[in-house]
């Protein structure tokens, strides 16, 4: 089997058996990235010299016999994880010249594991978007169909994994930004429980919703990567101090007796039939494997999008106030006074979607509107979280679609932001509750574009979710399907 068709676990075995060196593997992926960058635009920054230096040290470590599972494995990172000496742009003009002066905790963890930083992937500006069309570095295209969007905001990471330009990539998920692109590109994606992975050095969008995670091709690969990313870090005050599992070791548990909750609201109007059918079929497959299905209800689910578009912009307007043209990032030329320096640097540096959200955030937090919008949204957020708590009294995992449709064409939804927001109705509630969520490929819909099954777990139940996904991938082959034209 060619190197890039191998899973991360298989590559790890090849490295351990010295069938291939990390330098060879890294060169192989760098050549693939170069070949397909013009058609996919999945990467913002690649630095072969830096990557190969890391690969060389990984080979030395393997030779000494103290390799970890990810030693020598090239991993791509969403361009909002700060990596010392690497340009970290967040897909924004305002950070287009920003060289990170330190490493994110996640980057340190990959360094300790001996992984190779393969490059920084394209994304919607500051992770705000669902189609990757909001990047200052141009849109990413979907490897399954170059006319289609890859989803967002982790669109570059998803496209890179789908086109076999990287065995795995990191992403972040504030309202669905790992699960929806995973669904659109036919890869597996996991957003862990809020607090499972440190947000230190991960550029903030909405701090009470942001969580870093992984995109890869299999549950096993996600388990290997999560084992590296997860864990306590005192530099993130919201990172939970509780032990991590050996996620890869727990994969073989099967699904006999598993209680799958299926929310009746998930299959109501708005879900495209070409998506509903593969999701139903996947749930039936689980029943054949020994799981039982219980109907649950999430009555406040429809309020998730309105709540999210108050809370996320509010937190964003506060977080993004740091971009002032003074300490780093883009600075306007010849400002007349300090106020002009701020206003023009920000106006020139931010794109339209980021400006919209900063404006909404500033408004809902402003005097006289705080109670009606911000406080009200926080109260409904609790109702949404309670819905999940009640549902999990009757089931172990919740299943449904990751997105209401397959990937749509580039440019088809850019004129009406609200329409694109409403598409995130299946992913956003999980972020509001702080729960872990996952998307795994389970079939194809219209125009032969991939469909993803969403699996939602209870807090810190990633180990069970991964074994549930693994059981499906042992019984089916959807996760092995690759888009044509990338050999």
């Amino acid at each position: 089997m060619s190197l890039h068709r191998s899973t991360l676990a298989q590559l790890s075995a090849k490295l351990a058996a010295k069938e291939v060196s990390s330098v060879e593997l890294t060169r192989h992926y760098l050549a693939r990235i170069e070949a397909w960058q013009p058609s996919l635009n999945a990467f913002i920054t690649v630095d072969a010299q830096k990557s190969l230096a890391q690969a060389k040290s990984a080979d030395e470590r393997i030779a000494k016999g103290n390799a970890a599972p990810l030693t020598g494995i090239p991993v791509a990172h969403k361009d909002l994880f700060c990596a010392k000496g690497w340009r970290t742009t967040c897909g924004s003009k305002i950070l287009s010249n920003f060289i990170a002066p330190y490493d994110a905790h996640v980057i340190e963890q990959f360094d300790r594991a001996g992984a190779v930083l393969l490059g920084k992937t394209n994304m919607d500006e500051f992770a705000m978007g669902s189609s990757n069309e909001n990047s200052a570095f141009g849109p990413v295209r979907n490897p399954w169909d170059l006319q289609a969007v890859p989803g967002g905001s982790s669109g570059g990471s998803a496209a890179a994994v789908a086109a076999m330009l990287a065995p795995a990539a990191t992403g972040t998920d504030t309202g669905g930004s790992i699960r929806q692109p995973a669904s659109f590109t036919g890869v597996s994606g996991l957003r862990p429980t809020y607090g499972r992975v440190s947000r230190y050095g991960m550029v903030a969008f909405a701090s009470s919703l942001d969580q870093g995670g992984v995109l890869a091709r299999t549950a096993q690969d996600m388990a290997l990567v999560l084992s590296v990313m997860a864990g306590f870090d005192e530099r993130d005050s919201t990172c939970m101090d509780r032990p991590t599992d050996d996620y890869a070791a727990g994969l073989g548990k099967g699904v006999k007796g598993l209680r799958i909750g299926v929310p009746r609201e998930y299959f109501a109007s708005g879900l495209s039939q070409d998506v509903a059918a593969p999701i139903q079929a996947a749930i039936e497959e689980y029943q054949r494997l020994g799981a039982t299905v219980v109907e649950v209800s999430l009555p406040n689910q429809a309020l998730s999008v309105p709540v999210y578009y108050v809370l996320a912009p509010a937190e964003a307007s506060s977080n993004l106030s740091r971009y002032d043209g003074v300490r780093y990032g883009h600075r306007a030329d010849q400002p007349g006074d300090l106020m002009q320096l701020y206003k023009r640097s920000r106006a020139e540096g931010f794109g339209p979607e980021v400006k919209r959200r900063i404006m909404i955030g500033a408004y809902v937090l402003s005097h006289g509107y705080y109670d009606a919008y911000y406080l009200k949204a926080q109260k409904i957020r609790r109702l949404i979280a309670r819905d999940f708590a009640q549902a999990f009294e009757q089931c172990d995992v919740i299943m449904g679609p990751s997105a209401p449709s397959v990937a749509y064409d580039l440019g088809s939804k850019t004129t009406d932001p609200v329409q694109m927001y409403l598409d995130d109705l299946y992913t956003i509630p999980i972020n509001l509750a702080g729960l872990p969520g996952m998307s795994i490929p389970c079939g194809f819909g219209d125009k032969a574009r991939p469909v993803g099954l969403q699996i939602v777990g209870n807090y810190f139940d990633e180990s069970r979710m991964l074994s549930v996904a693994h059981a499906f991938q042992q019984a089916t082959d959807w996760h092995t399907r690759m888009p044509g034209g990338f050999e």
Binding site: N97, I99, P101, Y194, S208, E234, S237, T238, M240, D241, A302, L303, P306, V307, Y309, V310, D324, G325, V326, R327, Y328, R331, P335, G336, D337, L338, M339, Q340, L341, Y342, K343, R344, R346, A347, F350, K355, R356, I358, M359, I360, G361, A362, Y363, A372, Y373, L375, K376, Q378, K379, I380, R381, R382, L383, A385, D416, V418, Y421, L432, A433, G434
Partner: protein, 94 residues
């Protein structure tokens, strides 16, 4: 519905300069977002505690000792304009 005057006020609060003509488009888009958000108003939230954070935990306290090192030179190496260790901005006091 937000008026153009309110749009200008919010833009000032957000420290964003709106180009000529940009304010009308922004007004239309923000009003469309707020119309969607207005679905919240109908929900009875009497007695519901606001949820500001997904985890019910109290903030950790750390030991009171110096842990940060001086990184001024590193941080200022990426600043747009510095002099003698200071960040330069247009004159604030005449």
């Amino acid at each position: 519905m937000l008026s153009l005057e309110q749009i200008a006020r919010i833009a000032h609060l957000a420290r964003l300069e709106l180009a000529a003509g940009e304010d009308a488009a922004m007004q239309q888009q923000l009003n469309s977002i707020l119309a969607m958000v207005d679905a919240m108003a109908a929900v009875d939230t009497e007695g519901v505690e606001p949820m500001s954070h997904p985890q019910q935990v109290t903030q950790r306290l750390r030991e009171d000792r110096v842990t940060e090192v001086d990184a001024r030179a590193i941080f200022q190496s990426i600043a747009p304009e510095v002099e003698d260790g200071l960040y330069l901005v247009p004159k604030v006091i005449e």
